[in-house]
Symmetry: C2
Subunit: 142 residues, 2 copies
Amino acid sequence: MNCSDMSAKIKIECYFHDVMSNLVNLSDALSGVNDYFSPKVIEEVNSVYIKVAKILGEKVPWHTHDGEDEMFHVLSGKLKMEVEGMDPVMMGPGDIFVVKAGLLHRVSSEEECHIILIENKETQHTGSVESEITKSVEDQLQ
Amino acid sequence: MNCSDMSAKIKIECYFHDVMSNLVNLSDALSGVNDYFSPKVIEEVNSVYIKVAKILGEKVPWHTHDGEDEMFHVLSGKLKMEVEGMDPVMMGPGDIFVVKAGLLHRVSSEEECHIILIENKETQHTGSVESEITKSVEDQLQ
């Protein structure tokens, strides 16, 4: 590779770095998620993280997030949302549900469901409940 | 209506109030947006608002949000994202782009484009730039 080629290569790499560091495609991000119930941080916006996750089954335990809301946005499939004191809600693509701070809740799905989660950066995805699916925020950043 | 009917009616209304107060469908929310460049708040999650908007044309002025990130998520159509110092990025459905705090930017679209915006509650959508499309946060809550 001569200097001219190297210059062009660096220019192209810089271009993609600049542009791609801010652009995330949800399908691409989800294709990198191999496990169910394992949120992956794809972006940060001020004090919240934007995460994607795949849900299949009923392994999410009932839990709360004290003082912190949590938003669920269904991209594909159906998500059963259960909140203490409410009848279950079956969410479909394009549906958004905010679980208000402190409410006991859990989600499940009979078939694979893809979602976006929006939570404060410090929110634990299963609250203070430790279960087989619990991942630390650090794990979710990898 | 007798007491039994009234009881049933109240029960049904309470049920819908409880459930529907947390569930938002994006298509329904967008169908209530009549103007371009006029974000509408559909949810709040901790310190951020979730908004939907329709974009058509080039009326968004170049602007910044000092100290505040802003996230764009394209639901349908194509959005041209321009950020100072970067080549323009053409975003499509499922693409997410976070404009980091302080960066000069603007968005436009040649055909109607539907987006989700995530911003701090106090963020002005055209920053400190007043233009013909500028809406106050209070207007966006209506």
